[in-house]
Symmetry: C2
Subunit: 450 residues, 2 copies
C-alpha cells in the first residue's frame, strides 16, 4: 500500500490528510499537541480566522465545504471605528460577497474528523517530530507522554508543522544551498475577548470585520459563534508613542483604551483586567527555497508563514493542498515530478502572499481611515459593477478568486497606477455627487476597448 506521513495536524496537515487518504494512501499524521477535540487547549495562535475563496475551493475539492459551513460567520465588509466612535462601512466585494469568520479549533477539529473518516488515516497526538532522515524518508518522533523516541518510514513526507517547522529546522535548513530567512516585524499582537451581552447577543455587528485604525497600530474584532468577539491589538513592541512597552500597569492599559478606543472601552470597561489573559505574541515572515527535498515537501506556514494582515495564511495553506492535489493527479503520483512543479509554481505565490500581507497592514491600520483610499475603493467597486469581466479589485482577486497571488499582485499594481491616474485627472467625488460617474467609467472603458 502507498504510504504517506504528515507532520503536524494543524490547518494544512488535517486537510492534506483528507486529500491523501482520498488518493488511496495509508496516512500517518504526527501532531505535537494533544487532540484538541478532547483536551481543553487552544489550537494556538489566533482564536478565529477569516476564511475566503481559496480556502473554500480547497475544502470543496474534497467535499469538506459543507462540514465547515455552519461554523462560518459571513463578514460582508469592514466597519471602521474612529476616535470619536463614528462608524464607516466599506463592503469587501459585490453585494452578497463575504469572507467568513471561523473558529480555528472548530475548523481544525472538523478536518481531523473528516480525515479519520475519509480513509486509512491515523493521527498520533503528543508526537513531536525531532529529526528527519531524507535518505530513508524517515522522521523521528518524540512521544511526549512516554518520552520515547520512534522512527517512522513512508513513501513520502509532508511537513505541515507550521511557521517553526521542525522538519525545516532539523532537515531542510541543513541541506546545502537551502535559502532561508526568518524576519520578525517590529509589531506584536495581543488578543482580548469581548464577551457577548448577558442575553447572549453580540455587542457589535457580527457580519463585519471591525477595525479601529490608528495610523501606526490598530485593533480588530471578528465574531465568534457564541456571541463574543475575538479582538486583536496589533502595535509596535517598543520605541513608539503607542507601543506595548508603554502599557505596563492596569492603569496604563485602562487609560490607553479609554483614550484611543473610547467605544471599545465603553463596551468593555474591564479590558485592563483581561489584558493578561492572552500573551503578547510576535509576528514573523518565513521565506525559504527549495520547498521540497528528496521525498519531503513543505506545505503551509512551514513553507511561507506570513503576517496575518490579509487574512490569507490559512487560505494559502489550503491552496497548497489544492495545488498539490491537482499535480498529484497530473503527474500520476510521480512525486519527483509533482514536487518539482509544486515548488516552481507555488514559490512565487508564497512570496507574493507575503508581500501582499505586509502591505495590507498599512491598509488596515492607516489607509482605511483615509478619505482618498475610501473614495478609490468606492470608485473601484463602481467600475467592477459596470465592467465585472474587465475589472476586479486587488482585494477581490485575493479574497474572492483563485487567481494566483503573484498574478493578482502584478495586476493589482497595474490597476492601481491606472486608477490613480484617472483620479488625478478627474474629480471623482464630484462625479459621484452629480451622478456622472458612470459616464466617466464608460468613456474610459470604451476608449480602452478600442
Amino acid at each position: 500500500m502507498k504510504t504517506g506521513t504528515i507532520v503536524g495536524a494543524g490547518l494544512a496537515g488535517s486537510l492534506w490528510a483528507v486529500y491523501l487518504a482520498k488518493a488511496g494512501y495509508k496516512v500517518t499524521v504526527f501532531e505535537r499537541r494533544p487532540d484538541i477535540r478532547k483536551a481543553e487547549i487552544s489550537a494556538g495562535k489566533s482564536i478565529n480566522l477569516a476564511l475566503s475563496e481559496r480556502g473554500w475551493t480547497a475544502l470543496r475539492e474534497v467535499g469538506l465545504d459543507r462540514m465547515v459551513e455552519d461554523l462560518a460567520i459571513p463578514m460582508y465588509g469592514r466597519i471602521m471605528h474612529d476616535e470619536k466612535a463614528k462608524l464607516t462601512f466599506q463592503p469587501y466585494g459585490e453585494e452578497g460577497q463575504a469572507i467568513f469568520s471561523v473558529s480555528r479549533g472548530g475548523i481544525n477539529a472538523r478536518m481531523m474528523d473528516a480525515a479519520e473518516q475519509s480513509g486509512d488515516v491515523t493521527i498520533h497526538y503528543n508526537h513531536q517530530c525531532v529529526d528527519v532522515d531524507f535518505e530513508n524518508t524517515k522522521v523521528t518522533l518524540l512521544n511526549k507522554e512516554t518520552n520515547e523516541t520512534i522512527e517512522h518510514q513512508s513513501d513520502v513526507v509532508f511537513a505541515c508543522d507550521g511557521a517553526f517547522s521542525a522538519v525545516r529546522y532539523n532537515g531542510f535548513q541543513k541541506v546545502d544551498r537551502f535559502n532561508f530567512s526568518q524576519n520578525y516585524i517590529a509589531d506584536g499582537y495581543r488578543e482580548i475577548l469581548l464577551p457577548a451581552n448577558e442575553d447572549g447577543s453580540y455587542k457589535l455587528d457580527k457580519n463585519a470585520l471591525h477595525i479601529w485604525p490608528r495610523g501606526e497600530f490598530m485593533l480588530i474584532a471578528l465574531a465568534n459563534e457564541d456571541g463574543s468577539f475575538t479582538c486583536t491589538l496589533f502595535m509596535p513592541f517598543e520605541n513608539h508613542e503607542y507601543s506595548f512597552d508603554k502599557l505596563n500597569s492596569r492603569d496604563d492599559v485602562d487609560q490607553f483604551f479609554r483614550e484611543v478606543f473610547p467605544d471599545f472601552h465603553a463596551m468593555m470597561p474591564d479590558v485592563a483586567d483581561q489584558w493578561e489573559t492572552h500573551p503578547l505574541s510576535s509576528l514573523a515572515l518565513m521565506r525559504c527555497y527549495p520547498w521540497t527535498h528528496e521525498n519531503f515537501a513543505l506545505l503551509g506556514d512551514a513553507a511561507h508563514a506570513t503576517v496575518p494582515f490579509y487574512g490569507q495564511g490559512m487560505n494559502a495553506s489550503m491552496e497548497d493542498c489544492y495545488v498539490m492535489g491537482q499535480l498529484m493527479k497530473k503527474h500520476n503520483e510521480n512525486w519527483t515530478e509533482v514536487f518539482k512543479e509544486y515548488q516552481e509554481v507555488r514559490k512565487p505565490n508564497g512570496d507574493a502572499l507575503q508581500d501582499l500581507s505586509v502591505h495590507n497592514y498599512k491598509v488596515m491600520r492607516d489607509l482605511v481611515a483615509d478619505p482618498h483610499f475610501l473614495l478609490k475603493k468606492k470608485f473601484e467597486h463602481r467600475i467592477h459593477d459596470l465592467y465585472p469581466e474587465k475589472y476586479l479589485s486587488l482585494y477581490s482577486m485575493v479574497s474572492f478568486s483563485n487567481i494566483p497571488y503573484a498574478e493578482a499582485m502584478q495586476k493589482g499594481k497595474e490597476q492601481d497606477d491606472f486608477i490613480e491616474k484617472i483620479m488625478r485627472e478627474n474629480d471623482i467625488e464630484a462625479r459621484f455627487e452629480n451622478d456622472t460617474i458612470d459616464e466617466l467609467i464608460h468613456s474610459i472603458f470604451q476608449a480602452e476597448a478600442v
Copy 2:
C-alpha cells in the same frame, strides 16, 4: 574564578581564548574536530587566506603578531592573467603595503598554542556543541569519541562555531524575535593545488594574488609556504555558458582549462586529474540579529559569515575579538553592558562587510579586466600619493586601516561618485600621458579645500 566557555576553536575561537585568558578567565574551549596540530586533517574551507590590517591589529593587541609573521607571505598587488596569458600588475596600496597569504591550519595552530600558553585555557577536541541553555549559561556537548553527552556551565559563553553555528541554530534561532537569514549565492568554488616546481620554487610570482578574471567567473591563486599555490575556481553552479554542471568528465575539465586559462593549463597539464581532489563547495551569507542573548554572544562567522571575495571574513572575526576586548575593559567586564555595545557597534559593520564582499566578486571576476577600472585605480593611487591624509581608496580603508566597515563603505561610495565625475569631465588617460595629472589633482584638491 571567572569562567568563560568558547564553542569552536577556529580562527575566532582560538584568538578569543587568548584575549579571555589574558583577562584572567578560566577558559574552556570545545571544538568539534580533532586537534589539527596532531591529526592529518584539513582545518576546513580554504587552505590559505589573506590576512590584512584588521587581523594584524587584533593579533598585535595580545602580542600574537610575531608568532604569525613567519607564516605570512606578503602580496603587494594583484596580477591579472588574461585569455592570451598576458599579465597586468596592480598594486594594492602604497609602496610596501601588502596583504598576506597565510595557511589556515598554520595560523589556527599558532593561536591554539598561544591560547594554551597564555593562561588557564583547556581545549577539548572532538566535543560538538549540540544544545544550549540560556537560562543557566550552559552548553551541552557530545563527546564524539565516547558518544557521551556532557553539560558545561560558566559565567559567559562565546559562540565561535562558524557559519553553521550550532549555538545559533539550537539556541539563538529559537529565541523569539531573532532575525536570521542564510542566503546561498548562485556560485560555488573548487580548490586546485598548483604544485611547486621540482626544485621547490614557485611557478608564479609568490608576492601577488593571481586572478584570471573571466567576467562571470574567475580563478585565483595564493602562494603557500612550500612553493605551491592554492588556486580556487569560483563559478556558477548551473545555468551559465560556463558553470560547474558543464564540467562532468575529465575531458570537459581539460578542455575548459586549456581554452579559458591557457597559461594555467600549461603550468598544470594534469589539472583534470586533480579536479576531484577537493570538493565542490557552496558559498553563503548568514545575517542575524541580535548577536547576544543572556550571557551568550556570537563572534566571527557565527554572527556574520560572508562570501570570501574581499578576503575579510577572518579579519572581521579577529576584529570582533579586538572590539569585544576593548569593550570588556571599558565596561569593567559587566557583560550586559559589553554585549549591548558590542552588538550595536558591530552589527552595521557585519552588514557592510557582507555588502562589500558581494560587490567585490564583480570587481575581481570582471572589473579588474576593465581598462576604465584600472585607470580609475591608478588615478586613485596618484591622488593618495599627493594627498595621503585626504584620500584613501575603499580597498585601502578596508584592507589597510581599521576604519569600521560601515564607515569605509559609505565613504567609498561618496568617493566613487566624486572620482567618476572627475573622470567624466577630464581625459585622465591623456593627463597621465602628458604628465599633467598632478596638476589636475592639485587643482581639484586645492579647490576642495576652500
